[in-house]
Amino acid sequence: MSKFILCLICLGIASAEDLVIQFASPVAAQSYQFKKSAFVFRTLGCPSDVKPEVSATAEGLVDGQRQSVSLKVTAVQASAGNVFAIFREWSNQGVWIVSVKAHCGGKSAGVLVATDAQGIVRESSTVLNHPATEKEIENSLRSGKKPRGPAD
């Protein structure tokens, strides 16, 4: 009986694939039209017949003041799967992080993406299994690594 229950549990775990947001530099979109985007992201774990709902905001700390900018999220038609692009719409001043949220089939996910002049900064970015909370955003902004220096 216990083995039977264990098998059921395993099946349940195997079939409930988590929703994950994966982000990368624009080249991952394989589409020249998005080369100027700040970064691209895709959702993994969404059932094939369900479209994910995605949104993004740029969260910033400029001279000690919190700022938030709603961002345009553009679907990358040329790519397979649910791939989206984010273009830079936030100021060059201060420290910024982009909070991406996704919802699909009752599941949610989030990611906080740090960028600098050279592109995404993975070490300062965080993948979450839920949309980022205000506290997580604040912590990320106040403890993030300094951006890399300008490219030579």
Binding site: A24, A28, S91, Q93
Partner: protein, 350 residues
């Protein structure tokens, strides 16, 4: 403090377009003026609202109308019979290429070049402004000159000081330059494989990008990509270089192995040793590699012997597991499709 309310500068403030001093003034004013803070929120709301305006697809009928209009404007003489018009229309429609490509091949034996600084030399003529330079000519700059080359309608190339480039063909199938020595900065916005730069150590093929390319007179050089991708090809050897990465080129050997510029010093030293055949460097490369360095390891797969290839594959698989549907054996056999698919997936980790 500002004497007047900065209502006309609020969009510039949000867009980061104000000089620092002015931005600081606006911020200081916003700290004390509720009316302007309200105005700022209105500007921000207006910007947010625009996100609900979707981009519209241009109907296909527009291009058909352009084809028809351009044909009659560009090919017929001022007075022409209806029979000639119909014959011309049939001729155009019977050609596979689009009217835009036909137009772009009409006057494509020359390049538009302009002097940005000093007096670059095209052939034997000194340039002083913008000029049309026939294909086949060399364009040269000295220590105090720079030039800009217009690449059809898809972008431009800046020729750096102490450089020479030959203006090869320019037509609907593509635009080609040959870099003899020195450096260029290319900024191209077009579908892939329309812009090529030949060097003695390989051809840089634009895949929608911005990059810097330098080489000496022997062909040894360096490519650095700042946006998009560039492919370097030489006699069947290919290196794909994405933004944030660089790649050396070697005379007589072609493109080297690309690397990301933020790779560790130990990794880069080991890679340098590998490329110059110094010592047993593959172990060090594999030991020092991060997940992002799978760009380099992916290229190594086809540059090492079969025995070493297994080690490279195994290290890659620990850093970035093989995607579902791809087979280890097919990758080790250097199956083109398998390698391409794995590279596309690896790009999500770079």
């Amino acid at each position: 403090m500002l004497d007047t309310h900065p209502s006309d500068r609020l969009a510039a403030y949000l867009d980061g377009e104000l000089p620092d001093i002015e931005r600081n003034r606006v911020e200081a004013h916003l700290g004390t003026c509720a009316r302007c803070r309200h105005a700022l929120e209105l500007v921000r709301s207006g910007r947010t609202a625009l996100q609900h305006l979707p981009i519209a697809s241009a109907p296909d009928a527009i291009w058909s109308a352009i084809e028809t209009s351009a044909d009659f404007r560009t090919r017929r003489p001022p007075a022409v019979s209806l029979v000639w018009r119909l014959a011309a229309a049939v001729l155009v429609l019977g050609i596979a290429a689009s009217v835009y490509r036909i137009w772009s091949t009409r006057n494509v034996t020359s390049w538009q070049v302009m002097a940005l600084q000093g007096s670059p030399v095209a052939g034997s003529r000194r340039l002083s402004g913008g000029e049309s330079v026939p294909s086949g000519k060399w364009l040269e700059t000295d220590a105090s000159s720079r030039a800009r080359i217009v690449v059809g309608s898809i972008g431009s190339v800046t020729l750096e000081p102490n450089s020479r480039v030959r203006l090869l063909s320019t037509d609907a199938s593509g635009h080609r330059l040959a870099l003899g020595a020195g450096g260029i900065q290319a900024s191209i916005s077009a579908p892939p494989r329309l812009f090529f730069v030949e060097t003695p150590a390989g051809t840089a093929i634009d895949l929608g990008c911005e990059y810097q390319l330098h080489c000496d007179r022997n062909g040894t050089g360096m490519l650095r990509v700042t946006s998009g991708w560039v492919a370097l090809e030489w006699k069947g050897r290919e290196s794909l270089v994405p933004a944030g990465a660089s790649c050396r080129m070697y005379a007589g050997r072609g493109p080297g192995i690309p690397w990301f510029e933020d790779a560790g010093d130990g990794f880069l030293r080991a890679l340098g040793d590998f490329e110059t055949h110094r010592g047993e460097s593959l172990d060090r490369i594999l030991a020092e590699a991060r997940t992002r360095d799978t760009l380099t390891l992916w290229h190594l797969l086809s540059r090492v012997e079969a025995g070493d290839r297994v080690r490279v594959f195994d290290r890659m698989a620990t850093l970035a597991p093989l995607p579902p549907g791809l087979l280890r054996d097919r990758v080790l056999e250097l199956d083109t499709q398998s390698l391409k698919k794995w590279r596309e997936e690896l790009a999500w980790t770079w």
